[in-house]
Symmetry: C2
Amino acid sequence: MGLQGGAGPEEVWPIEGVIELTFPDEETARVVYKSVLYEHKTVPYRRSRIDFLLDGRKIVIRFLAKDNSALRGTLNSYLRWIKVAMDSFEL
Amino acid sequence: MGLQGGAGPEEVWPIEGVIELTFPDEETARVVYKSVLYEHKTVPYRRSRIDFLLDGRKIVIRFLAKDNSALRGTLNSYLRWIKVAMDSFEL
C-alpha cells in the first residue's frame, strides 16, 4: 500500500503489460499516435514506465508499473488521450 | 471464454486491440483472472466484443469496438475490475 517512495534503491516493477490498438488504416493510426505522443512526451510518470510506439496501423503501449494504482492511472491517461484524439475523427 | 455481445451481420468493428498484463507469478494472475471473469461473464456488451483469457502469468483481453466511446468504456471497466481484484492483494 502507498508505494509512493518505491521499495528501495533497486526499484521493482512487478506488473508489465502491453496494449495494442489496431486502426482501420495507417493514416488514422498515425494521426492518433502523433496527437497522443505530445502528451506522452510532456507528462512525467514516476510510478510507471511507458514505451509508446507506432507500428503501421497499430499503436503499441508497453508499460511497467509499480503497483495497481499506478497501472490503472497510467492506462486511463493513455486511453483518455487516445479517445480525445479519436473524437476529432468521429471514428 | 467466448466473445461477449451480439453483432449483426452488417455491423462494423473498426477498432481492434489486445491488452496483455503480466503478473509476478501464475497464482496472482489466476486469482485476478477468476475475479474479473465473474464480471466478464455477467456484463453484456453490445458495442464491444471481448475475449478474456488467462495464459500462465498473463491476462489477455482481446477486443473489437464499434467506436472510441465503446472502446474506452469497455477498457475502463476491465481495468477497474482488475484493479479491484489486485487491491485485495495489495499488489
